[in-house]
């Protein structure tokens, strides 16, 4: 159990540190980093390289955006297995729907409740 946390910490931290290196070396904006990570996650997952990392590190691999890509890709693949070509379109979003719906809903809620403030 403790070992799992250590692995999650190390792998998750490493993925973030890698992101920081990319930001500093390439001057990519954070929005582009997010796009790169999610696309990389989809591709790595599709060729079967990401599942072992998830198995090894748990949330250390699923919480970073590459894990989001992994969820999308695995969702699409398993839906294709179940219902055929239609699944390519329904599977990805269905698997990732929790996070997306939460971000939309809580984003809206935050806009209702809070006002942005410049820092002093």
């Amino acid at each position: 159990m403790i070992l799992m946390y250590i692995k999650a910490f190390l792998v998750g931290g490493a993925l973030c540190a890698l992101g920081e290196i990319i930001i500093l070396k390439t001057k990519l904006t954070p929005a582009r980093i997010l796009v790169c990570y999610i696309t990389a996650g989809v591709i790595l997952s599709a060729v079967g390289l990401y599942a072992p990392i998830v198995k090894f590190a748990g949330a250390g691999a699923t919480v970073p955006l590459t894990g989001f890509g992994h969820t999308l890709a695995q969702g699409a693949i398993s839906a294709v297995q179940e219902i055929g070509l239609l699944g390519a379109f329904t599977g990805g979003l269905a698997a990732a729907s929790g996070g997306i719906a939460a971000a939309i809903f809580f984003g809206f809620l935050a806009a209702v409740c809070f006002k942005p403030k410049p820092k002093q």
């Binding site: 001057k27 954070p30 942005p116 410049p118």
Partner: protein
């Protein structure tokens, strides 16, 4: 017919030497905590300045600066014959909103962060030529409105690079007048101006605006010294608007390369003056409001008190738009300068 007030290629001479009859500035709370904190006419309690949106707050700050300037001069809105000004918003909206309330004939200007110098430069010509007197030259900016237009939402979590600058929340208004017989005798006047050319040295990094603007600043200074044969050392200060840490150093190096070495001890940058280094503004302040508020809070009073006799005030602007930046366009820079003198008794 020859333009007889023109000296050389880019410089103009104000034959009647318009007087600076009054000046005022209003700034945000962060600027109020800076080194010039007690010199501003008005420091807003909050960045909202009692308004519903930050755009309206920016307009209100500008309007307030104009009101204070008018009351210092003891003049009503009706007696002002023109108002020149601009800001960083699309369609220079904050200035238009301020002008809507003031009901003074309004000429909108856009020169990015160079707007304060631009309004003085053009205002000086209108006044000198006898087309408007008294008139108001203004400029303003707001951190929150500039961030959302040029960068990210306020609550978006991202790191600023060390070369990034912090947009000043503030506005300044300067009243120019030909009238020598006003009650409070003005002691400061405009002598010359230098119109800047747009210079682009291929800098595309919007987080390093000092580097994008420094070549324009060097070009304007070189043009001025070529046109007038003035000695840079004859000025008490050569003041730049918001080149920041990076741009100020580049200006010194690049001017030297262009054959006009500048006296380092006489250089001053408003962006490096307005915040304490501990205020985490990285390479310094920026925005139209930076040069405008430092001019009205710090520079003009010093000339009025006689501490400085003659200064060259040059504000620099990075003429970037998010649209063309995203299309990969580099950042054109511009710098306008005016020479301000204390009136000899």
């Amino acid at each position: 017919m020859k333009a007889e007030n023109r000296i050389g290629y880019q410089t103009v001479e104000y034959k009647n030497k318009p007087l600076i009859a009054a000046y005022a500035c209003a700034v945000g709370p962060r600027e109020g905590q800076g080194p010039l904190g007690d010199q501003f006419d008005l420091v807003a309690q909050s960045p909202e300045f009692g308004q519903e949106s930050y755009e309206k707050a920016e307009a209100a700050l500008l309007r307030e600066a104009c009101h204070i300037c008018l009351s210092k001069a003891g003049k009503g809105e009706k007696s002002i014959q023109a108002m020149l000004g601009g800001d960083l918003l699309n369609q220079i909206m904050a200035s238009s909103l301020a002008a809507r309330e003031l009901k003074i004939p309004f000429l909108g200007l856009y020169g990015a962060c160079s707007t304060m110098a631009e309004s003085l430069l053009v205002g000086g010509m209108l006044c000198d030529g006898g087309y408007a007197s008294p008139l108001l030259c203004t400029a303003g900016s707001h951190y929150a409105t500039a961030e959302r237009q040029y960068r990210y939402p306020l609550e978006y979590a991202c790191q600023r690079t060390p070369a990034a600058q912090w947009t000043v929340t503030g506005a300044g208004a300067v009243m120019l007048s030909l009238d020598e017989n006003s009650e409070k005798k003005p002691r400061v006047r405009l002598v010359r101006g230098c119109m800047g050319r747009v210079v682009d040295m291929g800098i595309a990094d919007a987080n390093n605006m000092g580097a994008a603007m420094a070549p324009a600043a060097a070009a304007t200074l070189c043009a001025y010294f070529d046109d007038t044969k003035d000695d840079p050392r004859s000025f008490d200060r050569i003041i730049t608007g918001d080149l920041g840490m990076v741009g100020s150093e580049l200006l010194l190096e690049w001017s030297e390369k262009l054959g006009h070495p500048l006296p380092e001890e006489k250089m001053m940058d408003c962006g490096l003056t307005i915040f304490h280094p501990s205020q985490d503004s990285h390479a310094g302040g920026s925005g139209c409001g930076c040069a405008a508020s430092v001019l009205c809070a710090h520079i003009l009073p010093k000339i009025e008190r006689g501490e400085w006799k003659k200064v060259l005030f040059m504000a620099t602007g990075a003429l970037l738009s998010p649209t063309t930046s995203q299309q990969g366009e580099t950042i054109p820079g511009i710098a306008h300068a005016v020479v301000i003198e204390g009136v000899q008794e």
